[in-house]
Structure formats: structure tokens, C-alpha cells
Amino acid sequence: MSVKIKLSMWASGCFFLVGLAVWFYQLQQGLILTNMENSYSWGLYISGLAFFVGNAAGGLVLTSSIYLFGVKQLKPLAKLGALTAFANVTAAMLIVLPDIGKPLRLLNLLFHPNFMSPLVWDVIVLNLYALASATYLYILMLPELTGRLEWLAFKVDDAQAFSERWAKRMAPVALLFAIGIHVVTAWIFSTQGARDWWHSPAMAPDFVSVAIAVGTTVVLLAGALAYGTGEKYQEAFRLLGLIIFMAICVHLFLMMNDLVIHAWYGSGETHRIMEIAWGDFAWFHIFEVAAPLIGAGLLMLPTVRRSLPRLALSSALLIAGVFVHRFLIMPAAFNNIPMTMTPLGLPNSHWSLPIATGRFFPGMSTFIDQYSYTPSLVEVVILLGIVAYAVLLILLAIDRLPILVKEKP
């Protein structure tokens, strides 16, 4: 194990433990430690859910490319794809926990599930996808589970043939769950008729396109970090870069399509939405558009793909842009009070009924119709703790399991 990996493991392990400790503190004190309040009831944690779910798409892209479309060049990255998918989908489930007011009651999801709730569907598909990625990874590793790892191996006559056969068989199933996690996570938002910002049929396809872009970027970055940017990987990286760029273009199209339709009609609600999305958050909006576009554009250049620092920087830019995109799910939804009316006798007026905050903020009224949310330190540390969890899991697996294809001497 190289010193670099060892250090990264220690660092991510420590961060994860700090995040865990802060979560316990929050469990004890309540969600008062976050900066959310009644009118702004979801914040960084739920943005984090959407972010990690998107990152988990890497497995899907690689599996379908290799086993459904026969792109053999990507094979060395298959296990890495399944691993990043598993790490991110479990991170997505973990980041929901600190958002839950009574996490000890989560078993109620098993005892009293309400199958009308998209959240229940999401719990089901996220678990199935986690299970599918783990199984898929296991099947791919099976031929190499020898020596000290032999006790892990499932006994079959010809492990290599078994692995090939079952990987192919599982691919369409895994693909279904993979599409499912993005679509259902989008439905949690887009089914809400109360929030004009979310209530759009474009959201689910947009989630799929963002996920394909960012999930593939995660695999590309992991692949480049693990294998370097040698000539033998260039064809695989080129293909991934192309997938990323196309997916970002589809994403930007779907997003702009939605914004144009929101903006064009110019009703009171949409006017308010645009004021927030293009006004208050103008710089964030520019970043969420420019960063992924520039990042993906750079990844199309062979010179960028041949240099590890450039590739890593471009990938990081894209991932950061997508993160901001996920953060922006909330403001235009929660700062646009749904209980808005045109009062009797005032046909040209547009008035929102203030909401009680539910918690004390010094110098702030109890009843508000607008709230500037910035995550608290507790929220940021817990989110970073979950990122550290995903990094640690990937590093540990790479270190202990036959994830990377060994160079033939």
C-alpha cells in the first residue's frame, strides 16, 4: 500500500468519524443545529441525497456500455464502476439519516409503509440498486477471489465463464434499478403540486441525464487516479468523455427547456421563481451551467485526458457544478410560498401568507415569507463526513479486494 493511499485512508476515516460524532450531537440537540426552519424544511442533506444518487450512475453507464452495447475497451473499469456506484448509493441513503427527526423510528418504514409515498419507492429502489451493485461487483471479482480471499468465493466449476455469463444476465436488471433510482428520486420532488419549481415532467429525465454525466465523471476520475493516464486507457477515457459531454448537453437542454417554459408565460408564481433562480442565485446559476459545460468540454480534449492533474481538475469542476445544481433544487421551491393568492378586491396584487418559523432566530420575525438559507457548520461537516465515507469505502475496497486489473508482467 502506497503512503498516499494510506494517508488518504486515514484522512477520510478521520473525517467520517468527525461527521459521525457531529451527527450524534445533532441527534441529541435536534435539527435546531441546522439552519432549516418551517418554511425552508429541506436543505443541504436532501440536496446531498440528489447529489450522491447522481454520482451512483457510473455503474449503470459502464455495465450497459460493456454488456449491452459491447464496448469492450471499458472492461478494465467495470469493477471500479460498480464500486463507485455502491459507495455513492449507500452514501445517498446515509445522508438522509441526519435529515430524519426521529431516525430510531426508521423501522416504521418496514412495519407501516405507505406505498403511495414516493419516498417509500425511493427507499426500495436505492436498496435494490445497492444490492445489485454489490452482487454485480462480487460476480465480476469472482474469478480473482483466490488465495487469501478464497473463503469469500462461491464455488463454481469455471469461475471465469460463470462470471461472464452472470454479468451479462444481470446487466439489464441492474440497468433497470439504476434508471429507477434517478427517476424515483426526481419524483419525490416533481410529484409535489405545491411547489411550482419542482412540479415538472422534465425533472425525471433531467435527473437521469445529470446522473449519467456526473456518475461517469466519478468513474473516469477514479480510473485515472487508480491506473494513471497511460496510452492503453486513452480509448476508454475518450469514450467516457464523449458520454459525459453528450449527457451534459442533454441535461442543459432539459434544464433550459424547463426554465424557458417557466419564464415565458410570466404568471405571478413563475415570475417569483425566476426572480430567485435567475435573480438572487444568478451567480450560482451561471456556475451550475458553466462549470459542467466547461468541465465536460475540457474532457473532450486529448491533451486534458493525457494529463492526470488536468483530467482531475476538469472532473472536479464538473462535479462541483453538479453539486451547485443540486443545491439549487431548494431555494426556488422554498422561497416561493405556495399559499399565495390574489386577494379579493385587489386583482393586481400577489400576496403570500407568512409561515411561522418554528424556531427562534434573534432579530427575526416569527412569521416570514422569505428566508435566506445557508447551511450551518453542522450540516456541512455531516455532509463532508458522508463524502469521506464514500472515499474511504472505495479506497478500502481497492486495497483489500481485486478491484483493479493487474498489469500483466
Binding site: 440537540q29 435536534g30 435539527l31 435546531i32 432549516m36 426552519e37 418551517n38 418554511s39 424544511s41 429541506w42 438522509v96 435529515d99 430524519i100 427527526g101 426521529k102 431516525p103 423510528r105 426508521l106 416504521n108 418504514l109 412495519f111 407501516h112 409503509p113 405507505n114 403511495m116 409515498s117 414516493p118 419516498l119 417509500v120 427507499v123 419525490i188 410529484t191 409535489q192 403540486g193 405545491a194 411547489r195 421551491a333 422554498f334 410560498i337 405556495p338 399559499m339 393568492m341 386577494p343 379579493l344 378586491g345 385587489l346 396584487s349 400576496w351 401568507l353 407568512p354 409561515i355 411561522a356 418559523t357 418554528g358 424556531r359 427562534f360 416569527t366 412569521f367
Partner: protein, 224 residues
Amino acid sequence: MKMGMVIDLEKCIGCRSCMVACKQHNAQPPQTWWNRVFTPGSHRHLTPPIKGVEFFLPVHCQHCENAPCEKVCPVGATYHAEDGAVLIDFERCIGCRYCMSACPYGVRQFNWEDPEKAHKRSEYQDAYHYGYPEDHRHAGRLVYTPLRPKGVVEKCTFCTQYRDKGELPACVRGCPGKARFVGDLDDPNSEVSKMIKARNAFTLLPEKGTKPTVFYLPPKPKEV
């Protein structure tokens, strides 16, 4: 039996007595208000937005027939009682706050911290407790408790603890102008059904398709 409420805006004087009665009777923690009365169009309550136009709007849970909060609740903690009231089971709620974002009326409130701590933070007198003092179960489910634990969502119950004893909700009893009425919407001859028909009753945000069971009777234009 489908219970409904009618609020006569012609009779509402905007005094907020119902807000206070609701808050006290239901032991709501500081900064939590199940019932809000405001002056539509105006940024200041009891101040006309323009001369000659002024009415007041009380808003609490609309006990919708097609309630988005009930549909999104992953564990069925929010549910319809047999009489049509939408209630929350405080022993089942996991605190995911999905219902809060799904409710178009902004009536759902979260317990961000322990109520005793919230009292302290707002400098309430030590050991001062207000509201209906006992737990109340409706068909076995805990739908009222004076100190809601941190991490659960709460809202108007149409005062289930009083209605189960044949009494009226606190806001109805506390209204000095007698602007609030409760009755059976299924019975075409009930007082509320008659008022709804006779007075052009309207509901809030009908375009959201939530089918509220709280109806408003429009006010007459003011003579100034």
C-alpha cells in the same frame, strides 16, 4: 359524516383570538402557530393594503380530502380519521418533513428542538405550562400530547381532544365574532352545507386539487 368548517370572513374582525386560543389550548411551543390570521395584500396585519379594501384571512390545516401530506407520508403517520380530519400519529412520525414541503398551505410545523428547551430559549417562565394537559388518543393513536418530542411534525387537529368529548374546537369557541362554524358536509341540510350554498363559499388554492374541507364565506365590500 364528513366534518367541515366554514369561516365567515364578513364576521372576522382580525382580532387573532382564534390564533391565541389555538396556540394555548394545543400547547404549541414558541414560534409555532397552527393557525395564522393575516390581512391579505398587506405587509402589516390590520392595515388595509389600499383604502377601502380590507379583510382578514385565518388559515390553518384545511383538512383536505385529497391531502398531499397524507399521500407523501412514508409511514402513514399522517392519516384521515373516520370523520375526515387529517391527524398525525406522534408515535409513528419519523420527522422526514416530506409533508411540510408537500402542503401548499404552509400549516405544518416541525419540532426543531425539545419543547422545554424552546421555552427556555424564548425566556418563558420556569415550569410554566399551558394547554390541554393530558395525552389524547384517537382510536388508539397518539394524536395529542402537551409536549411534542423533538423531531416530529405537528399541525391543527381540529382540536381532536375536544371534539372526541363532543366539544367544539378552541378556535370556534374562542371567536368573539362567532365567525366559525363546524358541521357535517355530507348532510345537505346542516348549517355549514346551507351556508356554503347560500353564500358563494370558496376554498383556498382550488387549482391545487386538494379539496379542502375548510370553506370561506366572502366578505362584502367595505363602506368607507
